[in-house]
């Protein structure tokens, strides 16, 4: 019915977007967008901006639904939560940044923040809080009922271990991890990094020694903490989920949002290990047969990354932070920070020099 009333999304727009997007450009755009979000926060947190943003995205979203390929992937029942996540995250970020900007201005003028002004005022839970909660759960129930009524839960063919669907995807909330598998081996992307994500989150209260910004919105007083966390949450988690769900098709090839998922698309992947670069190209000799000698350049790189970089950073970039945090806290912080940075770094190395593994010992499943 929609298709009858609305003209289709013009081909040139589709072709432009499909042609523009590929993994490299997608990631670069999301990083640039993130930087712009932080940098121009006092601009986009104005009231008209979010109105315009929502009007534009929603119109464009529904207009895009006139494209069959777009509709097929976005309209998949299990992918609907991602659309909900996208819009609610956009709105709530707007709310949060707006409060940050306003509070930062107040702080700059030496005035109490919005929350400080209300801190001493206390209200009875009945009715203020209880009714707010009541209203929230009614709205949530209504949303859930409408959603459940209009959208059937998916049920595909009975399970069969012989027929692997192409592509095979984990549930949507793990697709950031599955996307990581393109760059790192399962033992890192599937086991070690998730463990580090959990441990890193748990470590946050013990490595963030900044006493400011406790219980109120502020950006300026917590620049590093908020930027780092949001980079992890938005760029390395949510946008990778969107990439993994909407833009990864058969054989885990990348497809633009309006592109047809062609299972026979061939993407040549000729990736090279670090050891091959060092011995074959730079030293011009054969790979040593001794595994440890062969992977020596890789081991040195990894050791340098985790052992040499932290003191270097402490002296160059994080001088004040090192003083504030002390040795153990600083080491913990920088270790998790480096682990987090390891993903975009490997991505860039893959795109620029086709690096496959830094350390490659497939004999013992030890590839980095």
């Amino acid at each position: 019915m929609l298709a009858l009333l609305v003209p289709h999304l013009p081909e040139f727009i589709k072709n432009f977007i499909d042609g523009l997007l590929e993994p490299t450009m997608y990631f670069v755009l999301s990083v640039v967008g993130f930087w712009a979000m932080i940098q121009f926060r006092s601009f986009w947190t104005r009231g008209w901006f979010i109105g315009g943003f929502f009007a534009f995205t929603i119109v464009f979203y529904f207009w895009s639904l006139t494209d069959e390929n777009f509709k097929l992937i976005v309209g998949k029942p299990d992918n609907v939560p991602i659309t909900i996540l996208f819009f609610s995250l956009a709105f709530l970020l707007w709310v949060a940044f707006r409060k940050m900007v306003i509070n930062d201005r107040l702080i700059d003028k030496g005035l109490p923040t919005f929350e400080h002004r209300e801190a001493s005022r206390r209200v009875y839970c009945w009715p203020d809080l209880v009714y707010t909660e009541f209203l929230a759960l009614i709205l949530c129930t209504v949303l859930l009922l409408v959603w459940a009524y209009y959208l059937k839960a998916p049920l595909e063919e009975p399970a069969s271990l012989v027929k692997t669907p192409n592509p095979s995807k984990a549930p949507w909330y793990f697709l950031g991890l599955q996307e990581m598998l393109v760059y790192y081996d399962p033992w890192l992307a599937g086991v070690v990094f998730p463990t580090f994500i959990i441990n890193g989150l748990m470590a946050i209260p013990y490595i963030d020694m900044n006493p400011k910004g406790n219980g109120y919105y502020t950006f300026k007083q917590r620049r590093f903490a908020i930027s780092t966390f949001l980079f992890g949450f938005i760029v390395l988690w949510v946008t990778l989920i969107i990439l993994g769900t909407f833009l990864r098709g058969p054989n885990w090839n990348f497809f633009g949002p309006y592109a047809y998922w062609d299972p026979h698309m061939v993407e040549s992947l000729n990736n090279v290990n670090l050891a091959e670069y060092v011995y074959l190209e730079w030293l011009g000799r054969a790979l040593p047969s001794n595994i440890l000698l062969r992977e020596l350049p890789g081991f040195l790189t990894v050791i340098a990354y985790f052992a040499v970089l932290p003191p270097l950073l402490a002296n160059l970039v994080f001088r004040k932070m090192y003083k504030d945090l002390g040795f153990i806290r600083y080491q913990t912080m920088v270790f998790f920070l480096l682990c987090m940075a390891a993903l975009p770094l490997k991505m860039v190395l893959r795109w620029t020099v086709n690096l496959k593994y830094i350390v490659a010992i497939p004999e013992y499943f030890f590839n980095i």
Binding site: V162, T164, L181, D185, P250, W252, P362, E363
Partner: protein
Amino acid sequence: MSETNDKGRRSFLAAVSTGWALFTAASVAGLGMCVRFLFPNDTFEPATKFKVGYPGDFAASSEGIVDKRYKTRGIWIVRTLDGFFVLSTVCTHLGCTPNWLEAEKKFKCPCHGSGFYSSGINFEGPAPRPLERFKVSLAADGQLEIDKGKKYQQEKGQWDDPESFLKMEYSV
């Protein structure tokens, strides 16, 4: 008197620490039992050793013709002009089941796009190593017999093992 007191205290401490040590050991053992309970001794899965027919049933070519009939049992049988070898259908990246694309002469994994030649050697995508091979031999009745209990990994040099390959010249 203080000496006897001291003695009494020491033996009391010894008894208490022994008690706690025993309690801790018993707790750890109990927890270990619970964990061990989750690992069954037997898992009613199909036999690992089975027969797949006579050598004459398989066509051959120089780089090998892939027989997909036993994919449900987790194997591909590849017949070259020299003989037979058997590949595992488990992708070495994350364990999905690749598909044999006859036109492109390769195994292609649908999960992350790893590609393998009919020999099992990986050449594209994230798979870190070649597909594994299984033991193949001739049974007494002349049929090919596969033993999935014995696997051979190329990167460990095990494909040179005579049991990983059944030598048999192809004749029309």
